[in-house]
């Protein structure tokens, strides 16, 4: 009797307040798709994989061993497998951060605080490198500096000026650092511009009243106050730079310049799973360390929010004779690194033969032509090729489904985390849903490839299905969606929902009538952001696609390797257009930019 009453109460409670049940469901999902994969990988990095017997006589797949860790860290090949790529990755991350941070900071200050003209235009244009795929500038770089010595056709420099650019100019460290540096300028720009405009103006005015000069205020007040924002920018740039794959593949692989991420790719590509696990774990470890180091450096005690007080009108700094140079600098950056690359990529798609810069060489063949056996091995134009159209269809399908699933999960997650704030469940969900953020895309794809390709427990074998891609993208992009969800739910005071409850509204009705309308714009912008992120992702899916599940980015990667440049760049252009449209839709909705 008593148990029945207890059960009844429990059940009623579940119906009335579903967050606990949801929370448990979400934890289960996160365990299966985040914790177990990480654990699986850690364990299997100490086991012989299926290729084990080829390397070690008598090895049995599944047998415990430290062979792979030794091979990667100390073995005879360790230098070329790990240490050199690792140093390359570090060097790239350090140098690109050294470009992106100061540039972004300077631009942010100019736009937020000075009287430089055309602020609206500059702000919009400076964000473009962040919207388009990170390898956009890298590909455009190739059109100028590539050399026939490393396969394919000559670039602009060779074709027009007859200069064969040296390898270090066209490939490897220098161009990788520059293109990634440019891609990450918007991160610092956006974060710092936000910080500079939301600092309470009175904090600076207080110092002014006490007689501080402008430079002293900038150094002693403004700089320390934006330091947390600068720290986030550093972590984002450095951490993400370490794991970048596309640029490093496009600009590094032709001259066999390897980085940690391209090594991970190579290992999984060659079915050397265990070695891939070891490299992946190291990559994750280094990324995680960056985040923690930053938190240590900035310190918990001094962490503060600089809420803007009323009347936080910042007075503009008059640039005087520096106004023209500053404007020119911004203009030049946008011309060279934003408009320029997109223009070059567009131009490339309408040239019958690469490297022949003449009007007679222009054609729309690669867009709408039927196949010509003399051009790109008979591959028809983009809008005529069922192979490419299929990839576009797959990409759109993947992006839309991922975005919707992510959006719904994000809102549920936000609801549970906010309503159960303070409980262990809430904290674990928030922490676990953030974890995929620390795992570079190429590593994430690698893990999912080895875990979910074959049937596993009750889960069927997913290799070659779109489901696998959706699953991978959903889990990887869950951090964006969940932080949007948490933010959206924070905005909604519990009393709004409780008021509806007092009117007898059940949970479903409350969700549809109260929560959903209030969280709508947050939900939509999370969905759109996930959509454009999925559209442009290469590293995450490059290991997982099969001919049936090919996507725009994956065939772009293939075309680029086959030197079907016009097709590759045409697809690139389509991705750019789609992501830009998506981005402006987000802006329309008043959505926040997430990294």
């Amino acid at each position: 009797m008593n148990t029945r009453a207890w059960l009844r109460r429990r059940l009623l409670r579940l119906v009335r307040r579903p967050e606990r049940a949801w929370g448990l469901g979400l934890i289960l999902v996160l365990l299966v798709f985040v914790v177990i994969p990480l654990g699986y990988m850690a364990v299997h990095s100490f086991m012989f994989d299926s290729l084990g017997p080829r390397y070690v006589r008598g090895a049995v797949p599944g047998e415990l061993t430290t062979f792979y860790w030794q091979r990667v860290l100390t073995g005879g090949l360790a230098r070329s497998i790990f240490w050199q790529p690792f140093l390359n990755s570090l060097l790239i991350a350090i140098l690109m951060t050294a470009i992106a941070l100061p540039t972004g900071a300077l631009f942010a200050w100019l736009v937020a605080r000075t009287d430089v003209p055309f602020k609206g235009f500059f702000s919009a244009a400076l964000i473009v490198p962040y919207i388009v795929p990170s390898w956009t500038v890298g590909l455009a770089w190739l059109t100028v500096f590539k050399s026939p010595r490393f396969g394919g056709q000559p670039g602009l420099l060779y074709a027009v000026l007859g200069i064969d650019p040296p390898a270090w100019l066209g490939y490897g460290l220098l161009p990788i650092v520059i293109s990634l540096g440019i891609h990450y300028v918007p991160y610092t720009f956006i974060l710092l511009r936000g910080a500079l405009t939301t600092i309470d103006a009175q904090l600076e005015e207080s110092a002014e009243i006490l007689g501080s000069k402008r430079w002293e205020i900038l150094r002693k007040i403004t700089f320390p106050l934006v330091l947390p924002a600068l720290g986030s920018a550093f972590v984002l740039t450095f951490g993400k730079g370490l794991g970048e794959f596309g640029t490093q593949a496009f600009l590094g692989l032709p001259i066999r310049y390897y980085t940690l991420s391209t090594r991970v790719y190579a290992a999984f590509q060659n079915r050397q799973q265990a070695e891939g696990y070891v490299l992946t774990l190291i990559l994750i470890l280094v990324t995680t360390l960056t985040v923690f180091a930053n938190q240590k450096l900035i310190g918990a005690r001094k962490r503060y929010t600089t809420i803007s007080g009323k009347g936080a009108y910042h007075r503009v700094t008059k640039l005087g004779r520096w106004r023209r140079p500053a404007t020119a600098l911004l203009g030049a950056f946008i011309l060279l690194f934003v408009a320029g690359p997109l223009g070059l990529i567009t131009l490339e798609t309408v040239m019958r033969y690469e490297g022949q810069y003449a009007l007679s060489n222009l054609t729309l063949h690669y867009w709408i032509g039927a196949g010509d056996p003399m051009l790109a091995e008979g591959q028809p134009g983009i809008f005529r090729s069922s192979f490419i159209l299929g990839a576009i269809g797959n990409s759109l399908q993947l992006a839309v489904i991922t975005a919707l699933v992510c959006g719904v999960l994000g809102i549920m997650l936000g609801y549970v985390v906010v309503r159960m704030r303070g409980t262990v469940l809430s904290r674990s969900i928030e922490f676990l849903s953030f974890t995929p953020y620390m795992i570079p895309g190429i590593a994430f794809g690698g893990i999912y490839l080895s875990l979910f390709a074959r049937s596993w427990g009750p889960l069927p074998a997913l290799y070659g299905t779109l489901t696998l891609l959706v699953l991978t993208c959903t889990m990887k992009y869950l951090p964006f969606a969940s932080s949007s969800g948490v933010a959206a739910m924070h905005q909604i005071d519990p009393s709004l929902e409780e008021a509806a409850e007092l009117h007898g509204a059940r949970w479903g009705r409350r969700f549809v009538r109260i929560l959903a309308p209030l969280a709508k714009s947050g939900f939509l912008s999370a969905v759109l952001l996930t959509l454009i992120t999925t559209m442009r992702t290469l590293d995450l899916i490059v290991l997982l696609v099969t001919p049936q599940t090919r996507t725009m980015t994956s065939i772009l990667f293939r075309f680029q390797q086959q030197s079907f440049t016009q097709h590759a760049y045409g697809i690139m252009l389509l991705i750019v257009i789609i992501t830009l449209i998506g981005h402006f839709a987000v802006r329309r909705l008043g959505g926040k930019i997430e990294f």
Binding site: S206, I209, R301, G309
Partner: protein, 380 residues
Amino acid sequence: MPIIAIRNMTKRFGQTVAVRELDLEIADGEFVTLLGPSGCGKTTTLRCLSGLEEPDTGEIHFGDRCVFSSARGVVVPPGGRGIGLVFQHYALWPHMTVFQNVAFGLRKKGLTRSEIRTRVRSTLGVLGLDEHEGRYPSELSGGQQQRVALARMIVTQPEILLFDEPLSNLDAKLRMTLRAELKRLHGEIGATTVYVTHDQLEALTLSTRIAVMKDGVVQQMDTPQEVYHFPRNLFVAEFMGNPTANFLPATVTSAGPPPTVALQWNPDVPLVLPSPTPLPESAEVVINVRPEDIGFSVTPQSGYLPATVYATLPTGAECITYGRLTPGGQEVVLKGPEEEHACLGLNQPFWLGLKRGNVFDAREGTLISSFGFSSREEDS
């Protein structure tokens, strides 16, 4: 010579005129409050004084020093004006400890380390913050943050102190305590103070003089008593006093003295105003009486207005009673000791007597005469 003189100062933000042709003189050691509803230009005036904002036209003098003049192109930067300012949200630097916040302004005065330490410590001591010097602002309560802001201001010993609604973020109790502390502080260091608030009680309790502002224009600048009892126009009369005073439209039926008026709502009762000055015959006026200046009787009396009790709101020591004039039904509010009002029940008839008040010109809204005040008060 006044220590602060503002002459014909105007400040625009685009289309809005925040301060319009302002003239203001403040004597050495005064505590002047700029009082007015939100958006009337108080903060802007203060910021112009501090130099954080540059007026469009006008002049500002501190003593015999001109710190701003649009005509002569003089603009002394904020740091050179010898002022201290406390902001509404305190504006404490979150990345510095209490000590560092307070010491900041001393560092450029060419003092040695130990001199700085002594002065910061003694200032913190005065404000009861000795134990908190190592803390960050986020680790302090609102009242403590407020004191740090005060310490940061007075440690450099400025001649002029400026405050922008410094107490508006605190709860009622703390506000009371800090009000007392501010008044003591002003008494002790004697620095000329300009204080911005929208809280009339704060203005009345703290100031030597109050400047009531509306739409960027000073409506009246006088001592608190003067502003409270003899508001120069209807705006000031309405703004001062809580609950809001009574305003009874009337027509002068006999010039006097003493003048007689007929209320618009209740013309049958001729009302004789106890005033030695005559009023223009048949002028349209507004009689303004404070709630505490209305007496009542539960039996009819000559010259008293018949009314019924609408609601009584006891607050402990005193009681606020709302009545409705009969006939007419205009609302009248009166205030008195609670035990006196205890006999009033719902809808009970009672009779109201106007003890003292002011008469305003109905069209212009300006004060034309007062009644019922002892002559000494009226002269002042």
